[in-house]
């Protein structure tokens, strides 16, 4: 109970500091526009007036926190959740593709890692090319990929999920290759003396020992999957999802809309990462590793 309270207090303090800094930045960044406007109108502008105006611009360079909150609130409550104008609707679209992509990506990363740890041929050949695959700026060619997939008749959620998977499999792969190799010599030797099969070694030793690595990489992986989905949503006809919201906000210079979509995305990411964290705690607790 006290722990909870302390955590909350700490978070609130940090948030408060950030909000104050944010307001200060908003005033500074947005003031140039106000000065320009004043100069164009040929008038002088005082500090209180400046602050008031910088925090209430329509297209601020940096919207003030309350503007973003208002934008979020409006996006969520103004229309029915099934309406295209509702942020929750778009978040839902993005979420489904993210989860599908993450599931695909994490599974692929895990399987590849298992393969790499067990097969020397795979270790030698796949790993360098898995790395090279990530250096292909998939985000840069996502539009092309979407177009090519569409021409193959793959449309809707799947292309987005594929791009999300492409981004999320890599952190899982790298983390798990390390994690599966983390058991030390003695732990492995023990199983060797019992002539445990590779599968047994995997399930009884390598997997449990790799859990800290697994969860660290799953957290990165799910965040990457979200980024992938959002990027894939930009060109996928730019219709639905948080990515499309970001884009149209961008297109019309609606900074407040951009920031609300951005925060919606971040909230989604935070929820997803927290969900992975909750699973982690649960698993570690059940395994007696949470000390």
């Amino acid at each position: 109970m006290i722990e909870r309270f302390r955590t909350l207090a700490a978070i609130l303090t940090v948030v408060a500091v950030i909000v104050v800094v944010w307001y200060a930045f908003a005033v500074v960044l947005n003031s140039r526009w106000e000065y320009d406007q004043a100069a164009r109108a040929g008038v002088q502008i005082g500090l209180p007036e400046l602050i008031e105006r910088t925090l209430a611009q329509d297209r601020p360079m940096l919207p003030a926190p309350h503007q973003v909150l208002a934008g979020l609130w409006e996006g969520v409550t103004r229309y029915a959740p099934t309406s295209r104008r509702n942020l929750v609707y778009h978040a839902g679209v993005t979420l489904s593709a993210t989860l599908a992509g993450f599931a695909l990506g994490a599974a692929a990363g895990l399987l590849l890692a298992v393969g790499i740890v067990h097969s020397r041929a795979m270790d030698m050949s796949v790993m360098p090319w898995a790395i090279a695959s990530q250096t292909i700026p998939i985000l840069a060619i996502a539009p092309m990929v979407i177009v090519v997939l569409a021409s193959l008749g793959i449309k809707g959620l799947l292309p987005k999920a594929l791009i999300a998977a492409y981004l999320s499999f890599f952190p899982v792969l790298v983390g798990m290759v390390k994690g599966l190799r983390a058991p030390d010599g003695m732990q492995l030797d023990l199983l060797r003396t019992w002539n445990a099969s590779r599968a047994t070694t995997l399930f009884k030793l390598r997997l449990p020992a790799s859990l800290p690595y697994l969860f660290a990489s799953l957290k990165v992986g799910i965040a990457s999957a979200l980024v992938g989905t959002i990027v894939a949503e930009l060109p996928a006809g730019a219709t639905m999802g948080l990515g499309a919201r970001l884009l149209s906000g961008s297109y019309y210079g609606q900074t407040i809309q951009i920031w609300s979509a951005l925060f919606a995305a971040a909230i989604l990411a935070a929820v997803l990462v927290a969900a992975v964290g909750a699973v982690e705690r649960l698993v570690l607790k059940r395994m007696g590793l949470a000390r």
């Binding site: 360079m61 292909i136 700026p137 030390d184 003695m186 990165v220 980024v227 990515g243 961008s250 971040a266």
Partner: protein, 286 residues
């Protein structure tokens, strides 16, 4: 499918068998690893070439590797210019700043229970802002040139490095921590002598993931405004001009640079974490 396609598939099967053979028989020799990796890559390229030719894929959808190679050779100065702009200026500076900041914040978070409680969740939240949303804003703030790309890279690499580093700093075993307590080591000392070394395997995990993210970040950020050079700029304009060979030449540059970068980090990792069980062949645990 015409004969080229079948030939490529035959080559693929043969090469894979050769690879397995070498990996199982000759794995002790120095040349095995690079050889197997190269052969695997060559196989992919041959397969690609064969299928593109065999299936008559339109060059504006997917050009063949030979066509890409020709375009690559022909536009070296252009590619070099884009490379300097995007990778040397944008990605590298952003990577250094971003990873440095993440390590520092991770240390702060690990040192201070207050920050661990307060900053970590908030930091996670902020770092989870998607790059495509941030890029336009950062371009707006930092201008069109490489500085804004570096800023995007900073934001992008921060989260993975932070998460891994925090996990790493916590990955010391209780006995090792107790030892530090009996020395009444100061916070700085246990950090320097215990937590930092113990965190290295995790840190490098993050640093390696971050190398590829840095490239992606720098390239994608150029979509949201850039001078008329840079890899992202070139890719997006070349797609518009249906100059797909140039697009793929740029991608090849990115892949080469990225693999080189990653390889470099792997070498450093080997040198720094030689003691970790994953880096030693066999041992009996320390």
């Amino acid at each position: 499918m015409s004969w080229q396609g079948w030939a490529a598939i035959a080559f693929w099967i043969a090469a894979t068998m050769l690879n397995c053979h070498i990996a199982n028989r000759w794995y002790r020799s120095r040349w095995a690893r690079p050889f197997v990796a190269t052969l695997f890559g060559v196989t992919l390229l041959v397969l690609w070439e064969g299928l593109v030719r065999g299936l008559n894929v339109s060059p504006v959808i997917l050009p063949a590797p030979t066509v890409i190679a020709a375009r690559f050779a022909q536009s070296l100065p252009l590619l070099w210019g884009d490379f300097t702009q995007t990778i040397l200026k944008g990605a590298l500076s952003g990577y250094l700043i971003g990873c440095g900041a993440a390590v520092l914040v991770a240390i702060l978070v690990d040192r201070s229970p207050f920050l661990r409680r307060g900053l970590l969740p908030v930091g996670n939240f902020i770092a989870a802002l998607p790059i495509v949303g941030i890029a336009p804003i950062l371009v707006m703030w930092f201008g069109f040139d490489w500085q804004s790309k570096a800023a995007v890279v900073v934001v992008m690499v921060f989260f993975p490095v932070l998460i891994n580093m925090v996990a790493g700093l916590a990955a010391t075993d209780p006995l090792q921590r107790d030892l530090m307590r009996t020395y009444s080591a100061t916070g700085r000392q246990s950090l320097l002598y215990l937590c930092l070394p113990a965190a290295m395997p995790f840190l490098f995990n993050g640093l390696k993931i971050a190398t590829t993210l840095a490239l992606i970040g720098a390239i994608v950020a150029e979509f949201f405004g850039s001078p008329t050079r840079g890899m992202g700029f070139r890719i997006s304009t070349a797609v518009g001009q249906l100059d797909l060979p140039l697009v793929w030449a740029e991608i090849a540059v990115a892949a080469l640079a990225g693999s080189g970068f990653f390889g470099l980090m792997t070498l450093i990792e080997k040198a720094v974490t030689f003691w970790h069980p994953s880096q030693r062949a066999a041992g009996r645990g320390a």
